[in-house]
C-alpha cells in the first residue's frame, strides 16, 4: 500500500470511530428516554439498545486492533495467540453475572425472612401480653 493510500485510510478510521461513538451516545440517550421521553420505560427496548451498544463497541475494538494496531498485517499465529485467550472472558462474564444475580436474590430472600420473623415475634409478644395476668412466673434454676 502506498503512503498516500495508508494516510487516507487513517482519516477514514477517524471519521468511522467518531461516527460510531456518536451513534452509541445517541442510542444510549434514546434508551434512557432523553430523546423521546416515553421510550424510557420500555424494558425490551432497553435490552435491545444494550445489545446494539455492545455490538458497536466490539466493532470499534475490532477496528482499533486490526487497523490501528496493524493486527491485519501480522502473522496469523500472532493474532490467534493474542486474541484467542480473550475467549475465556466469555465464561467469566457468564459466571460472574450469574453470581451477581444470585447475590441479589439471596439478599432479597434474607430480607423477606427477617420481616417474617419480625412479624412472628410481634404475634408472640401480643399473645404473651394477653396471658400476662394469669401467668405464674417460674424462677429459672437450670
Amino acid at each position: 500500500m502506498s503512503y498516500e493510500e495508508s494516510k487516507k485510510l487513517v482519516y477514514k478510521g477517524l471519521v468511522l470511530l467518531a461516527v460510531v461513538t456518536l451513534i452509541e451516545v445517541f442510542f444510549s440517550l434514546l434508551g434512557k428516554g432523553h430523546v423521546i421521553e416515553s421510550l424510557g420505560d420500555i424494558t425490551w427496548l432497553g435490552y435491545l439498545i444494550g445489545l446494539i451498544l455492545i455490538a458497536l463497541s466490539l466493532y470499534k475494538a475490532y477496528y482499533i486492533i486490526y487497523e490501528f494496531m496493524h493486527m491485519r498485517y501480522e502473522v496469523k499465529g500472532l493474532a490467534l495467540s493474542v486474541l484467542l485467550p480473550t475467549v475465556l472472558l466469555i465464561w467469566a462474564i457468564i459466571a460472574f453475572f450469574q453470581e451477581g444475580t444470585s447475590w441479589k436474590n439471596r439478599r432479597q430472600q434474607i430480607e423477606e425472612k427477617d420481616k417474617q420473623e419480625l412479624k412472628e415475634d410481634k404475634a408472640k409478644e401480643e399473645l404473651e401480653g394477653l396471658r400476662n395476668e394469669e401467668t405464674i412466673e417460674f424462677e429459672y434454676r437450670g
Binding site: L17, L29, F97
Partner: protein, 313 residues
C-alpha cells in the same frame, strides 16, 4: 539408532543455518519487543476485564444502581443536565490522539524524523487533554457532589412519592419509581439551576428533623411520603445509593487514567529520543514508536469498554 542419528543431523543442519534454536528466526515474524508488548497488553486486558466484570457482577447484585446519564450530566463552565456530553468529548480526545499516533508510526516507517516528532507531540496533547478532563470530572464528583470511595450520594427511588418540606408538610415535588436523586450536604442546597427547594436557613444539627435527617457526615437526607405500593402513606428517608459504585468508579477510571498518564510519560520520552535522532541511527529504525503506539491504541481500546460499561449501559 537410525532415528537418533537423523535427529542430530537435522539439529546440526539447523545450527549451520543459524536456525530457530539459536534465535535466528523471529517467532511470528515479529520482533521480540513487539511480541512482548502484545502479550503485556493481553495480560493488561485481563486486568481491566476483571475490573469491569466485577462492576457488572456488583451491578447485577444490587436492586438499584445509579443511572449514568444522571450521575454524569455536568460539564465545565456551569453546564448542567447535559447527559454524557462531557464524556463524549473525552472519548473524542482519545480517538483523535489514537489517529495522530497512527500517523506518527507511518512517518516512522518513512524515517521522517520531524514527522514523527510532530505527530507524537499532537498525541501527547490529546492524552494530556484527556487527563485534564478526567481531573475535572473527579474534582466535580469529589468536591461538589461528595462522592467518595465508600459514600455514594446518588440514589434511586424504589417507590413513587412526594417530598416533604422542612416543616414536614407535603410539597409539590413528586417523583416516580426509578427516579434518581443526589443527596446534598446540609446547607449547600441544590444550586439555583435545579429550581427546586427553598434556601432559607434551617436547623442543620445532626439528627432527626421534621422534614429531613442530617447524618453524621453532614448529608441532608430528605423525607418523603410514599404515594404508591405496599408502603403507601408511610414517611420514609432518602437512602444512599449502592456503596460499591464510588469505589468501582474511582478504581476503574483511575486505573485507566493511570495508564493514560504513564502513556503520556513514555510518549514524551520517546518523542525526545526521536527528536535527538537516536532512532535514525538504530538498526530497527523507529520501532520504539511502533511499540508505544501499540500501548497507546490499547489505552484507547480499553476506554471503548470503560465508556460502554460505565457511561452508555
Amino acid at each position: 539408532m537410525a532415528t537418533t542419528d537423523s535427529v542430530t543431523e537435522t539439529q546440526e543442519t539447523q545450527e549451520q543455518q543459524g536456525g530457530s534454536w539459536k534465535g535466528g528466526e523471529a517467532p511470528f515474524k515479529a520482533s521480540y519487543g513487539k511480541l512482548m508488548m502484545w502479550y503485556f497488553l493481553l495480560s493488561d486486558a485481563f486486568t481491566f476485564a476483571g475490573f469491569l466484570i466485577a462492576y457488572g457482577a456488583l451491578r447485577f447484585s444490587s436492586p438499584t444502581w445509579p443511572v449514568p446519564d444522571f450521575v454524569f450530566s455536568t460539564a465545565p463552565f456551569g453546564v448542567h443536565d447535559a447527559p454524557l456530553i462531557f464524556v463524549t468529548i473525552m472519548s473524542f480526545l482519545l480517538i483523535i490522539s489514537s489517529v495522530t499516533m497512527v500517523r506518527a508510526v507511518q512517518e516512522g516507517h518513512r524515517e521522517n524524523k520531524n514527522g514523527v516528532v510532530f505527530w507524537m507531540l499532537l498525541t501527547i496533547v490529546g492524552g494530556a487533554g484527556f487527563l485534564g478532563c478526567q481531573a475535572w470530572e473527579w474534582t466535580n464528583l469529589i468536591a461538589t457532589e461528595h462522592m467518595t470511595v465508600n459514600t455514594n450520594p446518588f440514589g434511586t427511588h424504589t417507590q413513587a412519592g412526594v417530598y416533604l418540606d422542612a416543616e414536614g408538610n407535603e410539597t409539590e415535588e413528586t417523583f416516580e419509581m426509578g427516579d434518581s436523586y443526589l443527596i446534598h450536604k446540609a446547607g449547600e442546597g441544590h444550586g439555583a439551576d435545579h429550581g427546586e427547594g427553598d434556601h432559607e436557613e434551617h436547623d442543620y444539627s445532626v439528627g432527626e428533623h421534621p422534614g429531613y435527617v442530617v447524618n453524621e457526615q453532614g448529608f441532608l437526607q430528605r423525607k418523603f411520603l410514599v404515594t404508591d405500593g405496599p408502603d403507601e402513606g408511610e414517611v420514609m428517608v432518602q437512602q444512599f445509593g449502592p456503596k460499591a459504585f464510588g469505589a468501582l468508579f474511582f478504581f476503574i477510571t483511575g486505573f485507566h487514567g493511570f495508564h493514560v498518564l504513564s502513556g503520556v510519560v513514555f510518549l514524551f520520552i520517546i518523542m525526545i529520543n526521536a527528536a535527538s535522532g537516536l532512532y535514525m541511527a538504530r538498526k530497527n529504525g523507529h520501532e520504539m514508536v511502533e511499540k508505544i503506539g501499540l500501548y497507546w491504541h490499547f489505552v484507547d481500546l480499553v476506554w471503548v469498554f470503560v465508556f460502554l460499561v460505565f457511561y452508555l449501559l
